[in-house]
C-alpha cells in the first residue's frame, strides 16, 4: 500500500500535539525509489519531512543506504510517523557531545581531591581521557534531546552534567572492584590498579571513588535523582552476584544472562538517562523513553562486548580476549552455540574449569552461529532503542543518539 506524501505528512503534523508545527514541507528532492516493501515508505517519507529549521535534505544515495540498512535490520513494522531519519548531515555523536565532555575528566578529578598523593593517583588512574567516555556522552546527548523536547533549549543544565560525571565515576569504581574480583591485570591497554598498587589499596580506591560520586550526587540536591542513581549502585552489586551463580536449565540461563547484563551494564545507562530526563523535562513519558533507550542500548552494548571477546584479539581490545570463558562465564555467543553443540552443556555447568575447556568452547563458538545470533540480538535491541528515542522531538542530539546505536553495533573494541 503506497502512502501518499501528503497524507503521510498530515498524519505526522497531527501527531505533533503540543509541539510547534514544523515549517512547510519542501518539494521532494531528486528522484526517489518506489516503495518496494512496507517498511520503506515511512523511511523515505521521514527523510522528506522537514523538521529542523535548516533546509538541508538528504541526498539520494544516502537515502538508499539508510533504507537498505533499516530494511535489513528491522523485523517489526515501523511505527508510522515517528520513525524518521533526520535530514541533518550525519552527526557524529562524539563531536556533538565533545564540548560538554571536554572538561569531564578534569571535573571528575576535582571531585577526587584527597590529600594523600598515592590515593589520588590511584583514583585518577582511569580518568586519563583514554576511555571511550561512552556513557557520559550518551548522558549529555540525552540531556540535550530531552531539554529540546521540553522547551527547545539545548543548554545542558549543571545538574545534568553532574549526572554524566557521577555515572562515569560509578562505572569506574565498579571497574576497579571488578578487576580485583577477576584478578585482572590489564585494562584499556595498561595495567590494572590492583596490579600496580595491590588489592587492598585498589579496593579502597574503588570505595573512595564511589563515596565521591555519592557526595556529588547529594550535592545536586534532588532526592529523586539520588534514588534513581543509587539504584544503579545496588544493581551493579546484584549483577556481580548473579554472575556468581549459574542456572541448570537452558532457558533459564538465557534469562539469567540478560538479567545480569541489564544489572551490570544497562542499568547505569538506563538510569542516568532517566535522571537527566527528569532534570530536563517533567513529563513521565519522556522519562520512560529515556530509560528504555538507555536500557536497550546498554544491553546491546554488552552483547557486542561479549561478541568481541570472541572475535577480537587482545591487543586491539586493550584487555585479554576470551576473558569471559576464563572466568567461567557463559555469555551470549556461548549460549547460542550450545544450542547447536549440546556437548557444551557440561562445560558450561563446570564453568570451563577443566583444562582445555576454554579452548574447546572457543572453537565451538566460532564454528557455530553464536556470534551472528548474538549480534542479531544486539541489533534488535538497538532497533528498539531507536524506536523509543524517535518518540522525542527531533534534534541533532536525537539523531546522534540514533547514530550511536549504529556505532554500538559497529564497534571493534
Amino acid at each position: 500500500m503506497a502512502l501518499r506524501w501528503g497524507g503521510w505528512w498530515w498524519r505526522w503534523r497531527c501527531g505533533a500535539s503540543a509541539r510547534r508545527a514544523p515549517p512547510p514541507l519542501p518539494p521532494p528532492h531528486g528522484s526517489v525509489p518506489g516503495p518496494g516493501s512496507r517498511s520503506s515508505p515511512p523511511v523515505l517519507g521521514g527523510a522528506m519531512c522537514h523538521f529542523a529549521q535548516r533546509s538541508s535534505v538528504l541526498s539520494f544515495p544516502k537515502i538508499c543506504n539508510i533504507f537498505w540498512r533499516f530494511h535489513h535490520t528491522s523485523t517489526s513494522q515501523m511505527c508510522s510517523c515517528s520513525k524518521t531519519v533526520s535530514d541533518e548531515k550525519y552527526q557524529d555523536p562524539f563531536q556533538l557531545g565533545r564540548k560538554d565532555l571536554k572538561n569531564l575528566y578534569e571535573d571528575i578529578k576535582k571531585e577526587l581531591l584527597v590529600s594523600t598523593a598515592e590515593l589520588r593517583e590511584m583514583c585518577e588512574y582511569y580518568f586519563d581521557g583514554k576511555g571511550k567516555a561512552f556513557r557520559p556522552m550518551i548522558v549529555v546527548l540525552m540531556a540535550r534531546a530531552c531539554n529540546i523536547h521540553h522547551s527547545n533549549s539545548r543548554e545542558v543544565q549543571a545538574s545534568q552534567r553532574s549526572v554524566a560525571i557521577i555515572a562515569e565515576m560509578i562505572h569506574t569504581a565498579s571497574l576497579v572492584h571488578d578487576d580485583v574480583i577477576d584478578d585482572a591485570n590489564s585494562r584499556r591497554g595498561k595495567m590494572t590498579v590492583n596490579q600496580i598498587w595491590g588489592e587492598r589499596k585498589a579496593v579502597l580506591a574503588g570505595d573512595f571513588i564511589l563515596s565521591a560520586a555519592s557526595l556529588a550526587l547529594a550535592r545536586i540536591g534532588n532526592t529523586t535523582i539520588i534514588s534513581v542513581l543509587t539504584q544503579v549502585i545496588e544493581d551493579l552489586v546484584r549483577g556481580e552476584f548473579l554472575q556468581l551463580g549459574s542456572k541448570e536449565n537452558e532457558n533459564e540461563r538465557f534469562a539469567h544472562y540478560l538479567e545480569k547484563t541489564f544489572k551490570k551494564t544497562a542499568s547505569l545507562i538506563a538510569n542516568s538517562c532517566k535522571a537527566v530526563s527528569i532534570l530536563g523535562c517533567p513529563d513521565p513519558k519522556v522519562h520512560e523513553i529515556a530509560y528504555q533507550y538507555g536500557k536497550n542500548v546498554g544491553i546491546a552494548f554488552q552483547l557486542i562486548d561479549d561478541v568481541l571477546d570472541f572475535t577480537s584479539c587482545a591487543d586491539h581490545l586493550g584487555k585479554p580476549a576470551a576473558a569471559d570463558l576464563k572466568l567461567g562465564l557463559a555469555t551470549g555467543p556461548v549460549l547460542f552455540a550450545c544450542r547447536q553443540f549440546p556437548e557444551m552443556n557440561a562445560m558450561i555447568m563446570r564453568r570451563f574449569s577443566k583444562p582445555g575447556d576454554v579452548e574447546r568452547a572457543r572453537k565451538y563458538v566460532l564454528q557455530s552461529d553464536g556470534v551472528q545470533q548474538t549480534t542479531y540480538l544486539a541489533q534488535r535491541y538497538c532497533h528498539e532503542a531507536t524506536r523509543e528515542i524517535s518518540k522525542l522531538r527531533p534534534s541533532p542530539e536525537r539523531e546522534a543518539l540514533i547514530q550511536l546505536t549504529e556505532m554500538v553495533l559497529m564497534r571493534d573494541k
Binding site: 574480583i181 550526587l217 547529594a218 532526592t223 539520588i226
Partner: protein, 376 residues
Amino acid sequence: MWGALLRLGGRRGLAGAAPPPAAPWSQVVSEAEKIVGYPTSFMSLRCLLSDELSNIAMQVRKLVGTKHPLLDTARGFVYDSRNNLQMRGLVVLLISKAAGPSTAELSFQHNMVSGIYSSQRSLAEITELIHTAFLVHRGIVNIGELKSCDGPLKDMQFGNKMAVLSGDFLLANACTSLAQLQNTKVVELISSAIGDLVQGIYYENSKSSEENCLTDDIGISTWKEQVFLSHSALLAKSCQAAMELAKHSAEIQDMAFQYGKHMSMSHKLHSDLQPFVKESSSDIMAFSLNCAPAVFHQEFLGRDAWIKQIREAQGKGNIMDYKKLQEAIKAGKGVTSAIDLCRRHGNRALAALESFPPSEARAALANIVYAVTRFS
C-alpha cells in the same frame, strides 16, 4: 577494651565531677538498649536475610581452613559478642533519643517509637552497615605479597573475591537506605564520612615496607588527624546526621558531632592503652607500633632513639620482644600522655552532652564516656 570493669553510674553533673562508679560494660550496654527500645544486636541488617548474603555465607564456608582474613571477620560476627556490639548504632540511637523530638517540625511526632524517629533508626543501621562493610574490606590480601606459607593462591583469590563482594553488598544496601531517607544533607554527610573512613584506613595500611619503618614518622597531631578519619568521622557525622533528620538546630547538630568525635577518640585511645595498663603480664599482648602511647613516646624521645629501642627489642632473630618494648614505653611519658589525652577527649564529649536536656539517654551516653576513660 570496652570490657573494663566499671561500677554503676549516678546522675550527677557530667564533666568535671569525679567519674561515678561505673557499671560492668555489659550492663552499660543492656541499660542503653532498654532505653532505645530494643536490643541492637538484632538491629535488622535486613539484608542478612537476603539471598545474596546466604550465597556468600555458603561460599565463605569454603574458606574454612585457609588463611584468608575474611574468615576471622566472619567469625567475629558470629562468635565474638563484644566485637559484634554494634556500638555505633547504639550511640546514634541514644543521641537521637537524647535530643528529643524536633522543635522545628511538630508534625513529625507521629513517626516516633521509644522516642526515636524511624529515619533515625534507619540511620543507625546504615552506620553499622558501613562500619561492617569496611571491616570486611579491610580483610583483603595483596596477592603479590603472598608467600607459600599463606596457602594456595586460589584460596586467597577466592577470599578476596568474597570480601570485595560482601563489602560492596553492604555498602550498596547502605546507599539504598540512605536514598530512602529523602534527605540530601544526610546523604552528603554520610558520603563524606565514607570518604573519610577510606582515607583513614588507607593511612592504617600505609606502613612502609622499608626496613626501618615498622613505625611511621608521625607526631601526635598527625596521629590524631588519621585516627579521626579512621575511627571517629563515621560516628561523629552519623550523630550529626541523626540530628539533621529530626531537623534540630545547627548548634545541636554540632554538639552531636562533637560527642561522637570525642567519644570515639577516647575509645581508640582507651583501646590502644590496654596493653600498657593491664597489670597481669602473663600474656604479653602484641601492639601496633603506631598506637597512641608509642607515638607519644616517639615524640618525646625523638625518632632515632625510638628506632634504636625497637631494634633492641627485635634482637637477633627479628622477632619483636613486646614485653621489652612495652617497658621502654612505660618508662617514658607515652602512657601518661595518652591517658591524659583520652581524658581530655572524654571531657569534651561530656561537655557536648550538656547541651542536651537531662534524660536516661543522656546519662547512658555519659556512662559510655566514663567506661572508655577509666583505667583501673
